[in-house]
Symmetry: C2
Subunit: 319 residues, 2 copies
């Protein structure tokens, strides 16, 4: 048995590979088989993480396993899909048992937390990279797309912004702070929690949604373009965590929230009539702006005056 | 707009990205949406090809695009699934327009031939590799797995074997033959035709099936293990193409057919009562052996005597 055959057996035995509802056949044949209920659609998304581009190399294998699946699962949250399963294509320079054990443990923990079953994949030799394809279930017609925002809707986010961008300097070792301060930000970088429950809550309510990966400004630009509207963001409304403000001054924290990335919070547009009920169900929900006629994204100060946009184009990790 | 945004637009405009039956939402949102008919299951398979490991680097981008999708789609054929869609995760050191144009053309041609719609993916910067995830539809309960072979069944293959393995020396430039001789073998290496129609024909008839990627002997070992039976292969029955025999003597050709790989023909077990009808529908169908009690794979000569197995463990391309 080659070392790569060993890897396959290793993942096949992982707890996240257990057969789940909706999985008719898991790992081990030419294909996995997924089953939907009547009237359901399957949501599919693929994400690749390359060592040295999307994460530091070397890095902690447990954390990498967590983060890789979280990033991929966040796309299911953005569509309002219920988590079902995923495949993992893992390319490795060599098979090291300790690395694999830690990676599979991190992956398994996130899979368990998200409710995603590992149903297949591929293991190949080469420069370290990972491609995950995630699957979710949705009642037909209820997917949250980017294109439905309407003039008059409120612009909302599902929680504090900028934490992961604020953590990046710590991840890269460019900044040192005491561990108690660093830990909560690092957790938001390495183990973002895909807002799967929120996404499902927004079905039939939000008019447009996505998950913030490139930064609020850049991602709101995607909604504005797809929906043919303008999004106005009120800078002073952006929710900032105590953890971020413990390390950065308010100005720097706001810039992380606007132009940073890797938040994996949902951003969405919502008719005002939906607000009260949703905010009761999801207390972290924060209104950060509104939809108007026009195009693109505008940033407003507390007095409603237009501000220059900070430089965007967050590039995630780059060595 | 960054160069990678350009790539995304490029693929979004490719003919293979057209919305097809079963694709409720294609490229451009957080997820694609697939739709099944009542009573159907979704077959899913993921394959990674790494430059320098699974294909020569550099290589012709058009041929790479064809081959990458064919290899992935062959897993759908092996389950008896009807082709539906695929995602492409493409990792590239740089975005070169000519390379991308040729690659997308090769990919699009194979996608069109197979009936697969490109519904999403990811484009990242890094060492060249491709991960494709393919999706097919199947009536629930009719998937061809590896585990149903029964004592008394015939062992069959869907066409000539060994061509791609025979082409490898040409691909690697280790052997030179005139172009008219090389062309048909090289076509079998670079553009294998996934046996999707045959797979669907075998639904409800074959008791076990897979596609031959590691060589007949190794892959029959998978069926034998999964089904708890022994597979007997009669060496003189192996179908060899005129193209293979034009370059190799019969002994070398038989070794390519047994221990080579990359055939992407289906191998399957079939109750004898099914033979006549299937052979009428698929003239290339060839009986190469039978299922008996026991375990593992045995190789027999024309007189039914057991032969030593040639060395297996075909490693596909390796520099």
């Amino acid at each position: 048995m080659g070392e790569f055959e060993l890897i396959r057996r290793f993942f096949a035995a992982a707890p996240c590979a257990q057969t789940a509802a909706g999985v008719a056949l898991g790992i081990g044949d030419d294909c996995a088989l997924l089953q939907l209920a009547a009237g359901e659609q399957l949501a599919v998304s693929t994400d690749t993480l390359v060592a040295g581009v999307h994460f530091p190399d070397p890095c902690d294998a447990f954390l990498l396993g967590q983060r890789a699946l979280a990033v991929a699962a966040s796309d299911l949250a953005a569509m309002g899909a219920a988590p079902l399963a995923f495949t993992l294509a893992l390319t490795l320079p060599a098979a090291e048992a300790a690395w694999l054990e830690a990676f599979a443990r991190g992956l398994g923990q996130m899979a368990h937390g998200c409710g995603l079953a590992l149903v297949g994949g591929d293991t190949t030799r080469g420069p370290l990279s990972l491609t995950l394809t995630v699957f979710g279930r949705l009642p037909a017609g209820l997917a949250l797309t980017r294109s439905g925002a309407r003039v008059g809707d409120l612009l909302c986010v599902g929680g504090s912004l900028g934490d992961a961008a604020g953590a990046l300097a710590l991840v890269l070792g460019q900044q040192q702070v005491e561990e108690a301060l660093a830990a909560p930000l690092l957790a938001r970088y390495w183990a973002p929690q895909p807002q799967l429950a929120l996404g499902q809550l927004l079905r039939g309510k939000a008019t447009a949604a996505l998950d913030i990966s490139d930064g609020l400004l850049a991602d709101c630009g995607h909604i504005a373009r797809a929906s043919g509207v303008a999004l106005l963001i009120e800078r002073e409304r952006l929710p900032l965590s105590p953890a971020l403000l413990a390390i950065y001054d308010r100005e720097a924290a706001l810039n992380h929230a606007l132009a940073g990335g890797d938040d994996y919070r949902l951003a969405f547009t919502l008719p005002a009539a939906q607000m009260a009920e949703l905010q009761a169900a999801w207390p972290e929900l924060t209104v950060v702006g509104r939809v108007e006629q026009g195009e693109g994204v505008q940033l407003l100060d507390a007095g409603g005056r237009s501000l220059d946009l900070p430089e965007t184009g967050y590039q995630h990790f780059r060595p």
